[in-house]
Amino acid sequence: MTASPSTSNGSRGRAGKTGAPALTFTVPTAQRVEARRRAGLRSARDGWSFVGPATLIILGLSIFPAIWAFILSLQKWDGFSDPAFVGTANYERLVTDDQFFDAISHTGLYTILFVPMSVLGGLFLAVALNRNIRLIGLYRTAIFVPFVASAAATGILSTYLFNPQYGIVNNVLRLLGLPQQGWLEDPDQAMVVIAIMSLWGQAAFTTVIYLAALQDIPGELLEAARIDGANRWQAFWQVVWPQLSPVTVFVTIWQVIGAIQLFDLVYTTTRGGPLDSTKTIVYFLWERAFRGLEFGYGSAVAYALFAITLAITLFVVVYARRRNLEAF
């Protein structure tokens, strides 16, 4: 609809420039322009009737709320009384809020525990699973199936497996004569448990991606390396690993973004405890917005989260470019 004038202008301009084809002598220009305009309208009507409904829903539930969230972040509002414009006060409060910085460091700890293990673990599992041996289908199924477990189910299961009194983990430690641990009830260990259970549920993702990438590497490359005298270890690190680097950059970014947004598993295991040791950025956001009804401050936290995510993504992309990894 909107571009139909430009379509007609374009046709007029083109007709003027390229000289008059035979058709223009028989059909008056005004009629031709009208026909082009109608065709443009018709194609726009057809096109938007295909893409319109989904576009409306997606943009209506993303771009519109994203702009609204920015306006909210400049307000003080509890959802009931009249919102008050406070300028950048929410952001000023954010940069001096110790709880927010605690949340950042808890999120950072989880990211450091989870991302390298998930990327390297996925790579290692993919290498192990990338062979035609007996039972390989069974091994793959066993490692992939936890992927379908929800965060709620995984969290509830974690509280059972790692329960200090009744859980199997301490039970095994006891049988081995090792000291019992507090796990989710110990501020120093709770985040470790959450990272372990995340790995259990998400190992499939990085493994499957690496497995697909490994199977895309031409066998001749490896053969050439072996003929040149490289052993398996050398062939892997000199030939295979560089081939995988775009995938590595991609899964690293993907897993980091996921790690920064950790919430569900915290909610269903520790609810931020013990002693706030697992209170992540998104948990902090959720508490402020939906328990404290600070919609303005919560929106400022959300924008800070967005900025952190963008900054880390850009950093990884730029770093990869510098090292010529060419993931994007």
Binding site: S4, F50, A54, F64, N132, S150, L157, A212, Q215
Partner: protein
Amino acid sequence: MSTSLLKPAVPLTTSLTSTKKRRSGFSGWHFFLAPVALLFLLPFAQMFLAALSPADELVSFPPPFIPSRLTLEGFVGLFADSNILLWLGNTVIVSSVAIVSHIVLCSMAGYGFARLKFAGRNLGFFLIIGTIMIPTQLLMIPTYILFSRLGLIDGLGAAIVPWLASAFGIFLMRQFFLSLPAELEEAATIDGCTKWQVFFRIVLPLAKPAIATLAIFTLLSSWNDLVWPLIAINNEDAFTLQLGIANFQGTRRTQWSLLMAGNVIATLPLILFFLIAQRQFIATMTFSGLKG
């Protein structure tokens, strides 16, 4: 680039099912893979065992590794103490509507963006892909306010509406349609089919593999979602399954047989589905990984 995006799933899925060329000798990798596979299965094994264990054995010390007898008491207790079947029904409704709506709306939009030429097409697609960058946490507060003004909060509609369509779904379907040869559609158009007839009679039946990927993606995300129902639904009758078991856990901290029975109900459908359609699940994971 665009046409090759769906391809990497192919060698993986074929090798998963191919039985020929399997080496007969014993591989040392079994010493690594067998324990790892058992370790990955252990949490599920614990979940099923605890769900079928007598409640008192799970809180005895030391707890037995294998229950003395199997019982359905945990499920009976769960059905008596919670509305788990109602929540299961709610989740089935949410996921079904989400899948049907995703298939219809995302296929239509993906086809439009891939094949039709019209004013505003590139801008529209660019904006949709741009929304993938926006973290959902940024949208929670305004969407909550919007939904409460629309009267959706505390009803099942609040859980359904965000899952009607997704940028990922449109992207996936567009990539698929771009990889289809256009000759069939052209022939049908010459034969006098309208764009809608071409879409529904020619294109959509060819899109089954992409639709399977889309359906699995939508099933997994809508079935397992917790944070949005947690925010939008406080009314226990409209709880989804995940919200229901998370809430139930809050009141029954150590009633393991009940909690694990709830876990079984929440995960078993997807586990079974995964075992039946493993190839499609893996294709979905591969594609969602390659969309960047």
